[in-house]
C-alpha cells in the first residue's frame, strides 16, 4: 500500500487532498474524507454575496458569481471557528479583503485562535471588482500584503493566486519574496455566461469565475510554472476529478491536491480519488505520493522508475 501521508508547510495530512475554498461547507456535510479542510473566504465585514443567478453551467465546467458570501470575521470567529476546529482534520482559514490592513486584521484574529493550521490569503477572487483580485494581479502589492500579514502571525501563510494574469510565475515569486510558505493554484479563471434567452449577462454579478475540468490545462500550466519559479510547496487545483488528474498535478509540482467543482457532482470524490491514487501509485511501484511531486520538472532521460511496467 503506497503511503499517502503528506506534510505540507508543517501540516500533516493523512491523504494529500483538500477542498478548494468555497466549494464545501464541512459544517453541513462533514469533510468527506479530505486530509484537511479549507474554509470559504472570510472577510472583515459580513457579505450577503451577489444576487442570483449565481451559477451557470458551461462546457465541462461552470461559472460562478457567489460574491464572497460569508458571515464576516466576528461571527466566523465566534460561531464557526470553534466548530471547525473540531472537525478532526487540519484547518486552513481563507481570508480576503479590500486593503492590506483588512487582511492583517483578519489574519491576526484568526491566528489568535488555537487549532488553525494555516491561513490562506485569497488575492484572486474574480467576483468582486476591487480588493483581493486587484492585489493578486500586481506583484508589488502581493508582496507587500504578504509582508504585512507576516507581521501578525507565525502560522504558514498561503497565497491563493489567479491564473488570469499574463505571468503567474511573477506573482508567485512576489508572494514568495513576501514570505508565503506555500502557494494555492489556481482560483477560477475569469469568465462570463450570457443568458440564452435574454442575451444579457446571466449571472447576478455580471462576470464570474470559470471552474471545473475545462480549466485543468490552465491550472496545470500555472502549477508547473509557479512551482518551478519559486520552489514553494503548492496546493494544486482546477478541474481535478480523478486519481489520474491528481497524478498529473503532483507531477506538475503540487504536493497537495484541491478538489472543487467536481465535489459538486460527486461528494464521494475524495474517497474515490484516494482509492484511484492509491492504485495508480501501486501500479507504478511508487512507495509514497511524494515520489510523484515535480516529476514533470525532470527530463525523461533520467532513470524513471515510475515508467516501469507502463506501456504507451
Amino acid at each position: 500500500m503506497p503511503d499517502l501521508r503528506t506534510a505540507f508547510c508543517g501540516i500533516e495530512l493523512d491523504v494529500p487532498l483538500v477542498n478548494g475554498s468555497g466549494t464545501l461547507d464541512a459544517l453541513v456535510s462533514g469533510t468527506l474524507g479530505l486530509g484537511a479542510f479549507v474554509t470559504k473566504t472570510v472577510t472583515l465585514h459580513p457579505r450577503e454575496g451577489n444576487p442570483p443567478q449565481r451559477i451557470a453551467e458551461t462546457p465541462a465546467g461552470m461559472v460562478n458569481s457567489i460574491g464572497l458570501a460569508n458571515p464576516g470575521l466576528d461571527r466566523f470567529c465566534e460561531d464557526h471557528l470553534p466548530r471547525l476546529t473540531e472537525l478532526g482534520v487540519p484547518l486552513v482559514v481563507s481570508v480576503g479583503g479590500w486593503s492590506r490592513e483588512e487582511y492583517a486584521v483578519a489574519v491576526a484574529r484568526v491566528a489568535a485562535h488555537p487549532g488553525v493550521a494555516a491561513i490562506e490569503l485569497n488575492v484572486s477572487c474574480p467576483n468582486v471588482d476591487t480588493g483581493c483580485i486587484s492585489i493578486g494581479t500586481d506583484g508589488a502589492e502581493t508582496r507587500a500584503l504578504l509582508e504585512r500579514c507576516r507581521e501578525e502571525t507565525d502560522l504558514p501563510l498561503l497565497a491563493k493566486l489567479s491564473p488570469s494574469v499574463a505571468d503567474v510565475s511573477a506573482i508567485a515569486l512576489a508572494a514568495a519574496a513576501g514570505g508565503a510558505a506555500g502557494l494555492v493554484l489556481v482560483n477560477t479563471v475569469r469568465g462570463m455566461a450570457i443568458d440564452r434567452t435574454t442575451l444579457r449577462p446571466l449571472l447576478g454579478g455580471g462576470g464570474g469565475g470559470l471552474s471545473g475540468p475545462a480549466i485543468k490545462p490552465v491550472a496545470l500550466h500555472a502549477v508547473y510554472h509557479a512551482s518551478r519559479a519559486t520552489g514553494l510547496p503548492v496546493i494544486g487545483m482546477g478541474g481535478v476529478a480523478s486519481g489520474q488528474d491528481c497524478l498529473e498535478f503532483l507531477a506538475a509540482g503540487a504536493s497537495v491536491i484541491g478538489l472543487g467543482t467536481a465535489l459538486f457532482r460527486d461528494p464521494s470524490l475524495p474517497a474515490r480519488v484516494t482509492a484511484e491514487l492509491d492504485s495508480l501509485l501501486a501500479d507504478r511501484g511508487l512507495p509514497a505520493v511524494g515520489d510523484c511531486v515535480r516529476l514533470a520538472h525532470q527530463p525523461l532521460s533520467k532513470p524513471s522508475p515510475q515508467l516501469e511496467g507502463m506501456e504507451r
Partner: protein, 243 residues
C-alpha cells in the same frame, strides 16, 4: 442527508420507463430499496454515461417514491433534463433538504406548471384528502393534473391559481404550494392576508444540493440563504420576511 451517507455519493438506478404526460415527461426509476425521504425533499440526478452537454447534476423532487420505484415529472428544458429522459440508467443523490411539514387537519394544495410535479405524493399521504388547485399554461401542460388528483380544480392561462384560491379563503387548514416564484409570492400574500398557514416549495439553480456551492441563493428571512440547506420547502413567512 447525514454526512456519512453523503460521503457514499450517488447511487445508480435503472430507468423503468420515460413517457410523455402531455407537455411533460414522466421518468420512473427502479429503486434499490434506498431511502426516498418525503414529499418536497429533492434528489440530484445525472444521466449515465456522462453527457457532454450537461456537466452538473439536476435537482428534481419526486412525484412519488417508495422502496421499489421513484418517479419524477419533468419539464424538459435543456440538456440536463433532455439527457435524463433518454438515459437507460441515472445516478441520484438524496433525499436532500427539507420537505413539507405535514400538518394535521384540512389541506389545500396549489400547483403552478411543473410545480404540480411534486404534488401526487403529497396527495397520497394527506388524510383527509386535500383540495387541489392547479394552474397551467395550456391544455397540454394540464394533462398531468390527472396524476395529482382527477378532481383538481384546473385553471389555464390567463386565469391564475389565486383566483379560485381566493374563493376558498379563509381556508381552515394548511396550504402547500409549489410553482414559479411570482405565483408563490401571490399565494403567500393571500394566505398571510387571511392568516392561513402556508408552506412553499421553491426552486433555484443548484450545482451541488448539499450546501457546498452557495449557488442556490434565495431570499429567506430577508437574506440570501442557501435553498438546499434551508428548504426547498419553507414556511411562507420566511420567504415574505422583508420582501
Amino acid at each position: 442527508m447525514p454526512p456519512a451517507e453523503l460521503a457514499e455519493g450517488y447511487r445508480r438506478l435503472p430507468v423503468v420507463r420515460a413517457e410523455a404526460v402531455g407537455a411533460y415527461t414522466l421518468l420512473v426509476l427502479r429503486n434499490d430499496g434506498g431511502p426516498v425521504g418525503s414529499p418536497g425533499q429533492f434528489f440530484m440526478l445525472r444521466s449515465v454515461p456522462e453527457p457532454a452537454a450537461a456537466y452538473l447534476p439536476r435537482a428534481l423532487s419526486a412525484a412519488w417514491a417508495d422502496e421499489r420505484e421513484i418517479a419524477f415529472l419533468l419539464d424538459v428544458r435543456g440538456p440536463g433534463t433532455g439527457s435524463l429522459v433518454t438515459a437507460g440508467e441515472v445516478e441520484l443523490l438524496g433525499p436532500l433538504g427539507t420537505g413539507f411539514d405535514l400538518r394535521p387537519g384540512a389541506s389545500l394544495l396549489v400547483g403552478g406548471g411543473i410545480g404540480a410535479a411534486i404534488l401526487p405524493w403529497l396527495v397520497r399521504l394527506l388524510d383527509p384528502a386535500p383540495r387541489v388547485v392547479l394552474g397551467f399554461r395550456s391544455e397540454r401542460h394540464a394533462v398531468c393534473a390527472a396524476l395529482v388528483d382527477p378532481e383538481a380544480t384546473v385553471v389555464l392561462d390567463p386565469v391564475v391559481v389565486t383566483e379560485p384560491l381566493a374563493r376558498l379563503m379563509p381556508f381552515a387548514g394548511t396550504v402547500y404550494a409549489c410553482g414559479p416564484d411570482p405565483m408563490l409570492h401571490a399565494v403567500a400574500a393571500l394566505c398571510a392576508e387571511h392568516d392561513v398557514p402556508c408552506q412553499l416549495a421553491m426552486e433555484a439553480a443548484m450545482a451541488c444540493g448539499f450546501g457546498a456551492c452557495y449557488g442556490c441563493a434565495v431570499r429567506i428571512d430577508g437574506e440570501w440563504k442557501r435553498l438546499c440547506v434551508e428548504g426547498p420547502v419553507l414556511a411562507a413567512e420566511r420567504v415574505m420576511a422583508g420582501a
